[in-house]
Symmetry: D2
Subunit: 138 residues, 4 copies
């Protein structure tokens, strides 16, 4: 299966469709059934102590798998998140960016499932894992 939207196409799509949040994210890498996305951590993503907030980690996992789906099916903006499971395993490094490695496990006609590992930049051990499911409009 070929990639339908590459890094440039996905980045342009993000600016257009998520004007409020696109500056939070940078698409680092796109390949068949997988993308890597960066959360450019800023003050608004932090909790006291400098750790990245849970909602910011959720947002990164969600946008990451969403972009992985669109990279394969093209710009169907109406693809919606239907489910999420997440485990928060370690404290993110203070003030470091977070990198989400997203892999699609299933890309069906109406349903997609993707796994995500979130790591603080420069660290090996994941700070969180997530599975996101999406409904694809027909």
């Amino acid at each position: 299966m070929a990639v339908k939207m590459d890094k440039e196409a996905l980045s342009a799509f993000l600016v257009e469709v998520f004007p409020q949040v696109h500056e939070d994210f940078a698409i680092e890498h796109v390949e068949e059934m997988a993308v890597r996305v960066r959360l450019k951590v800023a003050e608004r993503h932090l909790r006291p102590g400098g750790t990245v907030s849970g909602p910011s980690m959720f947002a990164l996992a969600d946008v990451g798998v969403y972009l992985a789906v669109l990279s394969m099916i093209g710009p169907k903006a109406l693809t919606v998140t239907t489910g999420c499971s997440m485990d928060f395993m370690r404290k993110p490094r203070a003030h470091a960016d977070l990198i989400a490695s997203c892999t699609l496990l299933k890309l069906g006609r109406t349903l997609a499932v993707g796994d995500v590992l979130l790591r603080s930049e420069g660290a090996d051990a994941p700070v969180a894992r997530a599975t996101m499911t999406y409904a694809i409009p027909s």
Copy 2:
């Protein structure tokens, strides 16, 4: 088991510990093992079309169960989220506040589990459900 922090105490705690986000939330009701919390929906919580964003729903579920835990054990700010599962079931009403009804199912010495139903104000059918788990410092 008696409530250790009532609505006023929890509201004051929220202001102190989450200075960045406390204005997003209002604690509506506190009782034994249950709280009800409102997301005061503003432009920054919305996606194009006026629907509340996934990260905003996650944030509401997370803060709701966190406050339910603290209402029973007192102000242990270091209680941390360890897990989340969420199902997004309906589109929230455009521009309506979201109300989270949070119930603790387990409050152990080191682990708490709470269920959440999120509804748009004035609607019966839930827009999302969530289960949140927390580690309590000893």
Copy 3:
């Protein structure tokens, strides 16, 4: 919305479609969007120490929400489980039956979501909670 299959119809369906396991379960109560199902705990459901095994609890939650869906839509046996999240919160009572209280939160055209609380017979505190999602054939 009216119930399409009552307790007797669901029980007969269970015998027909799940010949291997129907003797494990008894349908206790059926109402709009909710059912209560009993796991008739026998030696084969137990772990050493007399506690009910995880797979037996999963099986009860799964069959419970499945029957809740069919009670509303009729005997579409091809409805399949697509997702599950479960939290195991307390040790079940040794040798007591387990009762699953299942509630449908969403019953869409192609997707259903149900919540379950599992309790040992005669106990108030739930031993586990689960959310099950199903794809409904069109």
Copy 4:
């Protein structure tokens, strides 16, 4: 971190601690923070049509991550499952064994998290994914 129980030690432990089910499983491979376990599919694991049942897949994922934890910490039988999230993505091949590839993402002092991919023997695409969490007795 060194493996404390190898394939032989884990296999012997399984026979001793799970006398009812050990014949269902074969440990295929053990390495640091990862194991591979086979479900030897038999009639009792099947649903009509020859597909492996949901509870059998749950059982395989659960025993797999449990063994991955014990391979690293030694035979602490009282380690208990506290949570599970699972996505069922494809129909397993009729009558083929299932292989679980289990990876520990976190192995803390009191909490472990492991991811699992389940595949029908000889197939690449996973039939299911799971994340299991465990509480480790201190």
